[in-house]
Symmetry: C4
Subunit: 211 residues, 4 copies
């Protein structure tokens, strides 16, 4: 019996470079404190390139990127993938159009996730930057960013996420006291989405302070 | 019948370099989240150099700068100019003395534009930095920065702007939930104006929090 | 009679490089204003590599790192160690497992230390980032970060610290109006701890503002 | 009749390099918005090296540093010195021990200067960082940072300053709606003082928000 098909090493090399460059910028912005956060790209229909657990996200090298299959198991590596790997692979399995998943812990994301946990979502309304989300061409609309409860039980978290995805088209969600997940068809789109989420959450917190 | 006169390629090259350098700095300050914002310089009496729509403003290259005529139509390029191009060309057409228009989306600009939308303007009073605006030599004065309603209908936005320009000399205005437009006779002056606007708006928000 | 055993110069060289690199990053984050703050690593069972008093922490070179013994006395150097050296050596003497002590003065640390001085501690609860502290594997817990009174009397400060260490396992504490001490088995762990403390203190201050 | 003695060109070259390096860092911190702020060093008993008016402080070169005499008149240069030059030369004339004067416009400085204008000073009390000011060895003290009224009449501003200097030893003061002046025996000390002022003013504003 044969193993799962091997992945394309050249493609992994390209994706690793893209992850390293983008994560360095997110880290410089202070969104990955204390070695937290994890990042991945779809490698092919069976594999994901993802950051190794516990590495300093400000100084990633190619050795900090590993391959896992869609069950979150390490492929060709003895490193331990992040405990949150199932929250990445779950998205790649469910949506063939998702090519990149970014998870960060900015101050704004953590604070907003606690402040809006009881409401269950953050309402974003009438911002020009809502046009940054794929499929949207006007500021004249609203989205609710879900806030789910935190748990170390990953299947339970994935189940919460599944319920949300059954109900709506969405590009990201908050976990209470924890941070933000955002995604897109590739790194460029996922990066645009995560920057838009963080910016709009900051606007909401500022307006709450000032009103 | 001949086409409109061609532009000076060497001058375009110079302006592109100036735009790239300055936008990189504005982007590093966090004023262009999620590929938003757009920037232009007057190329000659018929043409404008402007950023191509949707590019990452933190990593602009010369290929991200295109030429449009004063009607906002692409010249010698198949790229799509920003939907907001008419807000740039409108200013170049109306004032021969305007050489540069900068449009950004900082947190402060977005938050202030929502907070002061009902009032219709932000009042700035007695700051030394008011001297940064061309033609002003004392802190002992005041300006009102207009806040106009947001819309995806550019002619409607340009008409709002025209009404404002009929009434007063001004170096910039806010669009609600969106961001700031600022301009000057060249990049250096426009840059000084946009920095002064953002700084003074931040002061106002801080004072509002603290009083 | 022989002097205390000499230290390993090669090891000092390595530790100095590690201190310089990490302190430059902490300084760039604004955590060492006005030449404040000090940093050390265990060199061996008798010696500590520590920053010389009063140097600009943003531009450290190897000449800004000196050796002291566990009594805080300079070894092979005429430089003056920081007045707070006893707060470093005290930890190395008491816990053989501590390899690095970092002391910074960020805005957040200073403000939190004043705001929670009367309470005597800052309570941190249910944050995912609590997992950044060694020995902890869940967000579902709490820690109290002690706040001790400031004094220029180092033995008195060390005595306050001893009382705290008798009562609990801890990775850091605040001094009122002053800053944060944090430590770990090596630079990597101490750095992770200090970033986690600062991030969680910022979250607490933000939530206090917003609630 | 001979002119005033010429200055030492080599010393000017050294001081210019020191000013350029330090101002670039202050500018990167956002303390010199919109080409504001000015900076000087004592060149000798008759001359001062000072930044030319209106230059972008983030990109200073040696051509942006000029020489003035103690009356604020340009020496060997057709550039216009800053209108605030008398506030620098006044200090060099009065105190032979002052070697460097730094004037910046950070958000914190501007906001604090307005908020505490009626009180006439900002009270700083019991901070460890008070030890950053020359001559001070304990946190267990207080200083009042004066806030003077703004005016474009420099002799009037200098007279306000003289009255303050008659009453107390001080290392800096705020001008309402404007910014901060700080000084020291050389660039290193003046830089330490200005960083300490800005940090402590930020602490005060934060505590005011949070209490």
């Amino acid at each position: 019996m044969l193993e799962a098909p091997l992945y394309d090493c050249h493609r992994l090399h390209e994706l690793a470079a893209e992850i390293i460059l983008n994560v360095r910028e997110l880290s410089a912005a202070g969104w990955t404190p204390a070695t937290s956060s994890n990042f991945s790209c779809r490698l092919d229909d069976h594999h994901v390139a993802i950051t190794v657990s516990g590495r300093d996200k400000g100084h990633l090298t190619e050795a900090d990127i590993m391959v896992v299959d869609f069950d979150g198991k390490a492929v060709g590596s003895s490193y331990r993938p992040s405990a949150e790997t199932p929250l990445h692979t779950h998205l790649y399995r469910r949506f063939v159009g998702i090519g990149c998943v970014l998870h960060t812990h900015s101050l704004t994301q953590t604070v907003a996730s606690r402040l809006y946990a009881d409401a269950g979502h953050v309402h974003l309304d009438s911002y020009e930057l809502l046009k940054a989300f794929a499929g949207n061409s006007t500021h004249n609309m609203a989205i609710d960013v879900p806030v789910v409860s935190n748990t170390q039980d990953m299947p339970a978290l994935a189940a919460q996420l599944d319920t949300l995805l059954d109900e709506q088209c969405m590009w990201g969600y908050l976990i209470e006291g924890h941070g933000l997940y955002a995604w897109g068809r590739d790194m460029i789109e996922a990066r645009r989405h995560i920057e838009a989420f963080d910016f709009l959450l900051r606007c909401e917190l500022e307006l709450r302070r000032l009103k």
